[in-house]
Amino acid sequence: MPAKTYVQTTINGEHVDFLCEPRQSLLECLRDEIGLTGTKEGCNDGNCGACTVNIDGRIVTSCLVLGVEAEGADIETIEGVADGSNLHPLQLAFLENAALQCGICTPGFIISSKALLEQNPNPSEHEIRFWLANNLCRCTGYDKIVRAVQDAAKRLQEA
């Protein structure tokens, strides 16, 4: 079998290097090679958003990125959202608004919502729904998720 590729990245602010096959997605690399299993696989074709990560300031579905493409990239995953033992306002808002049931889609929603609030601190309900349309949730009907994002926006603005 041909050789694996050596990839150097920054993940959640830490230098991380790993070996991968070119056919492995970034999602596989995060989960199977690096052990960051907070990023989830729901469809493996970019339609559910459970594998959303932030690369260089832009959210993408990591199932549609090759691991080898991560060379030199700055990646944020769900494991890097909290500040040590202090949860991010979005994480608190999700908990206090009961915005998760099974929780499998939650990491993707939090990564996506965080990117939204970073570029639009006070989004309308429609803007939230549009931004999050690439993240599927089957449990909640989205109501409490949208409210949690609105709540987090308020918390972030007050902070």
């Binding site: 970019g46 959303t52 549609l64």
Partner: protein
């Protein structure tokens, strides 16, 4: 997924060499939102051993505008850069109709018009829009570059006239005069994350209340995105009116040759061509009149 090799050339020349050296087994990749899925499911139409990541090539990342040269969008420029670009917003705002429709937010972080064109899906949401704008593709190959109107690129489902040893470099949109307006709309059962059941790109130029030029292009109703010349031509010289627009919509509907599948029946798709052409032209007219 079967084994692939990964290359990341820095120049157009290196990319073309990689493509031509591979004997048809290499595929350029921009955002990969179609290609990676196709490789993963073993799509027989995409039998690549080598993936050539073209995102490090400067020409493919170009996003520039001048009134003389028009707008140039490099083949790898992601959708979010398109709708975030000041020049696009002031001179080619209708391109955002497509850039904000392709996939969702995450997909728009990777997907490009160039990739959408090379993927050549009948439903590609940027292609009818590019056709309606009269866009021209620049393609590099072993023997130099050539320019091809976008409407001629797609030759069948997932088939283009871009050779295995060629690379789409950029897409150029000529500057529009005053009185220009365009629009792309598609019909999907949901409001996001769907493949067009039918889509229509339309552009018009209006002077003194009359159409001086017009284009209508369709998605998802033929083996390729379709320029309906007769629909656009029917408007030229006509006074802007509901009748003229309905006539063009009728011609678009007549030109559609859709199939029935899980996304809609052929009859429904033809019907949608009428509805969407009318709506797209009306929006294009509004924009043209707002711009003039």
């Amino acid at each position: 997924m079967k084994w692939i090799d990964f290359e990341k050339p820095k120049t157009v020349e290196d990319a073309v060499k990689l493509l031509s050296d591979s004997g048809g087994n290499a595929r350029p990749m921009a955002g990969g939102t179609d290609l990676i899925v196709q490789l993963r499911v073993g799509d027989p139409r995409v039998n690549a051993d080598v993936v050539v990541d073209i995102k490090s090539i400067p020409e493919l990342n170009e996003l520039s505008y001048s009134s003389s040269k028009g707008l140039t969008i490099g083949a790898a420029v992601e959708c979010y850069k398109i709708y975030g670009d000041a020049n696009v917003n002031s001179h080619f705002s209708a391109l955002n109709d497509s850039a904000t429709l392709i996939g969702g937010t995450q997909i728009q972080g990777r997907a490009s018009f160039g990739g959408n064109l090379c993927n050549a899906a009948p439903s590609g949401d940027s292609i009818p829009n590019m056709i309606a704008h009269g866009a021209v593709a620049t393609i590099a190959g072993p023997s130099g570059t050539r320019e091809v109107p976008v409407e001629d690129i797609c030759t069948g489902p997932r088939q283009t006239l871009i050779g295995d040893d060629e690379l789409l470099v950029s897409i150029n949109f000529p500057s529009n005069g005053s009185g220009f307006g365009a629009n792309y709309i598609r019909f999907i059962p949901r409001n996001e994350m769907d493949i067009a059941v039918a889509g229509v790109g339309a552009s018009v130029t209006i002077e003194d209340g009359k159409f001086t030029s017009a284009k209508v292009s369709l998605a998802s109703v033929a083996p390729t995105p379709l320029l309906v010349k007769e629909a656009g031509e029917s408007l030229v010289g006509e006074t802007v009116s509901e009748e003229a627009i309905q006539n063009a919509a009728n011609l678009a509907k007549a030109a559609a040759k859709p199939i029935s599948d899980m996304r809609g029946t052929a009859d429904y798709r033809k019907h949608l061509c009428d509805v969407l052409t009318r709506r797209a032209l009306n929006t294009a007219v509004e924009r043209a009149q707002g711009a003039s």
